[in-house]
């Protein structure tokens, strides 16, 4: 016979006995007390439970962390003597360095400054620097030819000044993370792609032969999905020509050799490269162009209010502590004005937060808590002026907050959290010139911020 849980007599039995209570004997409590875990020598749970003052300590720590982040931000915001900042961030151009001097190993001459005219104004042609003979270039690591920057874009009517590598200076190994290193990585990556991916090589060599080629922006956009690395660069190919008075700048390791020749450099004037862009030679005949740091710095940025959306889940580890994680999306939009143009910078980040919260007042329906956490974000899509960029930058931030939540039912809670966050490693130099472009965001310019977040939390 099939047993039916819903048979009426069973339902009646359940209703009658299910809530049936019978008082325990009068002496049961006193006997139980003797065997009960004693206060101060609590059972396993009591021992793990933090004392009440610890909760308030956690709140105080969260407030102190917020205050510390704020003070640190204020200190960083103090005005810096312009000369000092320039000295730190902008190595002296080689043209200004006495010949025969050595560049300290820790302060290599950035590649960007090794080119021949670092700051060329259209009306002021920079005289060509001459290379003293008999000097020696010391390279601890063969510098790929591609790293040699030949010149910035000038108008066609203005001859591009040719600066030459000051000999007699000792070029040390490039320090990782510096602008030259970043450029080196960029070009290496480009070369790697050209060498390893036949289909990519095809278009890099698109206009092989004498003369020059400037890829139209439309062409580049069309290829952006295939060649994401070079998206912000104008790329082309230029044949070597001119005198054979060349100097070998590296080669080896399979890196294409670049002959630095005047004919090539002069050829750049006919490339039709947009203004405000620098040119990097690759492989002797290929070139890239991009906006220089100076050009980026001359833009005036206006940032939109950041918008962050997310899904988070929380789990109570103990009665007082709950951990929270999930997935966030953030959009950072900026407008760049300058150099006679207006560009829009759009960056989309995905991030993973990790946060620990401690209740300091916990009720059935309403709770107050304090927390601190870390958010790691990665730019998954970005454009500058409509051109796709590829950021290899992690956006990290610390946060502290105090929150209130209301129980909605099930596992759902409505919460509101005012707090503060501090972005780390957002110095301009750190995230600048990555793969040929420089990023400025609200977080890089204002690393400290007050945040108010709210929503529905799923708490398990």
């Amino acid at each position: 016979m099939e047993i039916n849980r819903d048979e009426k007599w069973l339902v009646k039995l359940k209703d009658s006995l299910g809530n049936w209570q019978e008082p325990a004997p009068a002496d049961f409590w006193s006997n139980l007390q003797k065997d009960m875990p004693q206060a101060g020598a609590a059972g396993e749970t009591g021992g793990r439970r933090p004392a009440r003052y610890l909760y308030w300590t956690a709140v105080a720590a969260a407030v102190l962390l917020a205050a510390f982040l704020f003070v640190q931000h204020q200190e960083e915001a103090l005005p810096v003597t312009p000369g000092t900042k320039i000295a730190q961030n902008e190595p002296v151009p080689e043209a200004e360095q006495p010949l025969g001097t050595k560049t300290a190993q820790n302060e290599p001459v950035p590649v960007a400054e090794q080119h021949l005219d670092t700051k060329t104004t259209q009306n002021e042609p920079v005289p060509v620097a001459e290379q003293p003979s008999g000097t020696k270039t010391v390279q601890n690591e063969p510098v790929p030819v591609a790293e040699q920057i030949l010149g910035t874009k000038t108008t066609q009517n203005e001859p591009v000044p040719v600066a030459e590598q000051p000999s007699g200076t000792k070029t040390a190994q490039n320090e990782p993370g510096t602008e030259p290193q970043l450029l080196k990585e960029t070009i290496r990556e480009a070369l790697y792609l050209a060498e390893e991916k036949p289909e990519r090589k095809k278009w890099i060599a698109f206009s092989a032969g004498n003369g020059a080629f400037s890829a139209p922006s439309g062409f580049l956009k069309g290829e952006s999905s295939v060649y994401p690395v070079q998206d912000d660069m104008v790329m082309g190919n230029m044949a070597a020509s001119g005198d054979e008075d060349h100097e070998e700048w590296g080669g080896g390791s399979g890196t294409p050799e670049l002959d630095l020749q005047q004919g090539q450099i002069l050829g750049i004037t006919n490339l039709g490269i947009e203004e405000n862009r620098k040119v990097v030679m690759v492989g002797g005949s290929n070139f890239y162009s991009f906006r220089s740091k100076e050009v980026y710095r001359s833009y005036k940025y206006s940032h939109r209010q950041p918008v962050r959306l997310g899904v988070s889940f929380a789990m109570e580890v103990t009665g007082r502590l709950f951990l929270e994680s999930g997935l966030t999306y953030e959009y950072l939009g900026s407008t760049m004005k300058g150099n006679g143009e207006t560009l829009h910078q759009n960056l989309h980040y995905l991030g993973v937060p990790l946060k620990a919260n401690i209740y300091f007042s916990k009720g059935d329906r309403f709770s107050l808590y304090a927390g601190a956490g870390f958010l790691l974000e990665r730019c998954v899509y970005g454009t500058i002026g409509g051109e796709r960029i590829n950021l290899s930058h992690w956006q990290k931030s610390l946060s502290a907050s105090i929150g209130a939540q209301i129980f909605l039912g099930g596992h759902a809670y409505l919460y509101l959290e005012p707090g503060a966050s501090r972005y780390l490693g957002m110095d301009e130099e750190v995230i600048s010139m990555q793969k040929g472009y420089m990023i400025k965001t609200l977080h890089s310019e204002e690393p400290f911020g007050i945040t108010i977040s709210g929503g529905v939390r799923i708490l398990f």
Partner: protein, 189 residues
């Protein structure tokens, strides 16, 4: 004190909170123990051990809404009761062939159950063999499936089903007999 605050205070070994928890839930838990135990003494043993375990583990309790504390206390007590029954090796299961004929007579109606005093109904449950009683309680009162019961008791699903069949037949018979005795007594008067 609200449920959540009460649990937190108990976890902090607050004597007042412990007493309040006991006063609030000991009656209900004793009722649960009586249903699972074979007699009153065994029920008191289970209740005693349950409260020791409750006070030791209440820090692990996560409040999930009104009533969640009572549910947690009940589950803990039931688990301990099952554990006790298995420890004393009095938990026996009787395999019944799937095609075994129904062995119980007419089922009692709802009114018949209502006429039996609660104490007597508890006594009927207590009188069931340990295996029948555990399955009957878990199925009827905790509303577990045979799969869950089988996993909890360490038996197979068919065995759980057969235990329930027997338990139900026994309970039906007891209720019907009680009703008949009651009617016969009234007639004699």
């Amino acid at each position: 004190m609200e449920e959540r605050e009460l649990s937190i205070s108990c976890a902090q070994n607050d004597p007042g909170a412990r007493k309040e928890l006991y006063d609030k839930y000991s009656g209900h838990l004793f009722g649960v123990c009586l249903r699972y135990a074979s007699n009153r003494e065994e029920a008191l043993d289970i209740l005693h051990d349950s409260f020791i375990k409750i006070y030791s583990n209440i820090g692990r309790f996560t409040w999930r809404g009104p009533g969640s504390l009572k549910g947690w206390l009940t589950r803990l007590t039931i688990n301990l009761a099952i554990e006790k029954i298995r420890e004393t090796s009095r938990f026996r299961t009787v395999e019944i062939p799937p095609d075994a004929p129904c062995t119980y007579g007419p089922l009692p109606d709802e009114r018949s159950v209502g006429e039996v005093p609660l104490e007597v109904l508890v006594k009927f449950v207590e009188e069931l063999p340990p295996g029948y009683r555990a399955v009957f309680n878990l199925y009827v009162f905790e509303e577990l499936s045979h799969k869950e019961i089988a996993r909890m008791l360490g038996i197979n699903e068919k065995s759980s089903s057969s235990q329930l069949l027997r338990a139900k037949a026994a309970m039906a018979k007891k209720i019907n007999d009680y009703k008949n005795r009651l009617e016969n007594g009234n007639q004699q008067r």
